[in-house]
């Protein structure tokens, strides 16, 4: 863990010196989490790619202003979150999770595992899809951004108790969906 943080710190310093290879390496650490977060938040792969690109531009541009006392992942996810919210405001497109065939095609080798995983994914995506916007944001930031609730509160400009409430309702709904399908 400490080694990872040290590596991250070194990469950030190299980014500040203008090394794009270090930036690539740094973002790669969170690439999948970040992309999943954006995809699930906006519900569209190509929109998620645009937002991912926007996040990279802003992160590279702002890396000089990043403070080491903050968690890099939280900083990166805040940028992604703000980019998504800006896009949401500009485009007035309702962020919506829908499960495409592509999304359903999980890369599991075992056909049975794949079937179960796809069904599970369908149930969970549907549950996330039905969440009110704020609950969805909090849940996804927590799950993919690995943020503390305090950090989520700062990112979303919501009071901590409200954020905790959003998380509670979001997970309760997931739990309910899983229970209906007898998964738990």
């Amino acid at each position: 863990m400490e080694n990872n943080l040290l590596l991250e710190k070194q990469l950030i310093e190299r980014c500040r010196n203008g090394e794009s290879a270090a930036f690539s390496q740094l973002v790669k650490i969170y690439r999948r989490q970040l992309f999943t977060y954006l995809w699930k938040l906006c519900g569209d792969k190509s929109e998620a790619e645009d937002l991912f690109q926007e996040t990279l531009i802003k992160a590279w541009k702002g890396i000089g202003r990043y403070r080491h006392e903050d968690k890099f992942s939280s900083w990166l996810f805040s940028i992604a979150h703000n980019a998504a919210m800006d896009s949401h405001r500009k485009n007035k497109v309702r962020m919506n999770v829908f499960v495409t065939d592509e999304l359903r095609a999980a890369d599991y080798n075992n056909p049975h595992t794949q079937l179960v995983a796809n069904e599970l994914r369908g149930i969970l995506d549907e549950a996330i899809n039905s969440l009110p916007e704020k609950q969805k944001q909090v849940f996804l930031l927590r799950e993919h951004g690995d943020m503390t609730f305090k950090e989520i509160a700062e990112t979303t400009n919501e009071p901590l108790n409200t954020v905790l409430g959003h998380m509670h309702y979001a997970v309760s709904k997931l739990k309910k969906a899983l229970r209906i399908k007898n998964v738990i």
Partner: protein, 254 residues
Amino acid sequence: MLFKNRIICEEFEKEMWRYLDGTLNNEESVFWEKHLSSCPVCTSALSEMQKSLSIYETLPLEDIEDKKFDLMVEKAVKKSRFFSKLSGVFNTGSLFKYSSGRRLSFSVSRAALSTIAFAAIVMIMFIIYRPKSDIRTNLNDDNELKKTEHTSGFSEENNRPEIRQESNSPEEDNSTALNGLPGVKYTAIKTNSQTVEWKAEKLSSGIHEVDYSLDRIDAGQLRHSRHIDKWTLKAAAIDNEIERLEKELSDSSL
């Protein structure tokens, strides 16, 4: 007792997430540990929440193809380098400063006003004279710019300035001072160049007009209360125009 327990259990629903987050203080942690050890309702609620989350967490994450990711990083770096040439004036994406979400249009420094005029021209000229190789890379990325052979002032698709590669022959190396690449000559289309220069000049003269009026307001030659709204609007319009131009150029630079 039962009622008291119910209140505590309801409270745990709220505190559960901070408990899982590990952000409770020592005293709170000890309290909830003790409560959990004697409350099957809260223990079960906690374990169901954790289970629901762990099921979600077993799902595979999405990913971007390596090649696409590399291109995205390349784009991000290129775009930032381009804007960093504009020496901080555009750093906030806005010329004017904000306070509590409202524009304070006249808080902009004079130095920034003159720099912005220069920066706008630099930015526009960069677009006109940027090297072809750059465009070719971008073409692969986005298909945004079309390489054309005809000499009309604007590309048909998007009215963007065109740059033609005329020759690779060594005899025509006279343009290398412009682009720094031997054997490649670039010609900015005159009509386009005039148009963008005109845009820059218009922007620049607007900025100078605001600057001049600010001086007059400061010197008491214009009555503050009467003129401030007018120049606030003017400043905001310039601000918008710069943002629009910045976006337009940033789109066309990638």
